[in-house]
């Protein structure tokens, strides 16, 4: 049996949240909820996410919102065709590659001219919090006194 020599140090978090504002998107695509729905439902399948439910909304005269609850968290979009803008959230717990795959699929389909994107880890402090809880009462007290 081979002994594994390298261990990947994993920071304990509950999930990855990709927050992206897409600019310069075709207003005709952004105007109608059915266009956005097709892209988002496609992304869920492509990234093998587990859909629980979804809600979509068509604004009048134009613009759309949608939210997909998945077992791994959620995806959402809101569009402003008058600005060529869509704001997206893709938040998954479990495998971070699933969030990235869904994001790449959506950007590929929406073809923005520019993207402002941040990737946030959610629940990053669960280990610290656990450490706080597990510190014996005496020791915790002395830490607080210091």
């Amino acid at each position: 049996m081979e002994v594994k020599k390298e261990w990947k140090v994993m920071k304990m978090t509950v999930g990855i949240h990709i927050i992206a504002d897409l600019y310069g998107v075709d207003p005709a695509l952004l105007a109608r909820v059915e266009n956005m729905k097709e892209i988002f439902e496609g992304a869920v399948k492509y990234a093998k996410l587990s859909k629980i439910s979804s809600d979509y909304y068509q604004f009048r005269p134009q613009g759309a919102s949608g939210i997909i609850l998945i077992a791994e968290s959620h995806l959402s979009f809101h569009t402003w065709p008058e600005h060529g803008l869509a704001t997206l959230d893709i938040y998954t717990c479990g495998d971070p590659e699933q969030a990235e795959k869904a994001y790449e699929y959506i950007v590929e389909k929406m073809k923005p001219a520019r993207v402002d994107v941040v990737k946030m880890e959610r629940g990053v402090s669960i280990e610290d919090e656990k450490a706080n809880i597990e510190v014996p009462a005496k020791r915790k007290e002395s830490v607080e006194v210091n």
Copy 2:
């Protein structure tokens, strides 16, 4: 008629997104979706947000997810009772005070020991993008050449 002397310079954005991870929340509260639903539906009313639809999900044996689509964007939560953790998103366009009010209501009800929170402005570059579009073709060309 009095002339207004001070003008508030408003940065053009489409909305405010409050992203919060709440630690040290009572696991009994986090375990059941009906507890979380009551808090979030209460927040929507308290902040006078316009609910379009909502979806809630009870995980087995414990843990909950929920998402409320509002005319102003959305609210969502996901809970991990085993970590005393809830991750929240409150994203509203229009009056930023509404997002803050909803957030304060929720934190007041959930009584976390600690919160990691960031407030993001979404769609911050719509003015720049508009500027790009409105720059006359000639001038834009020369800017690109430089």
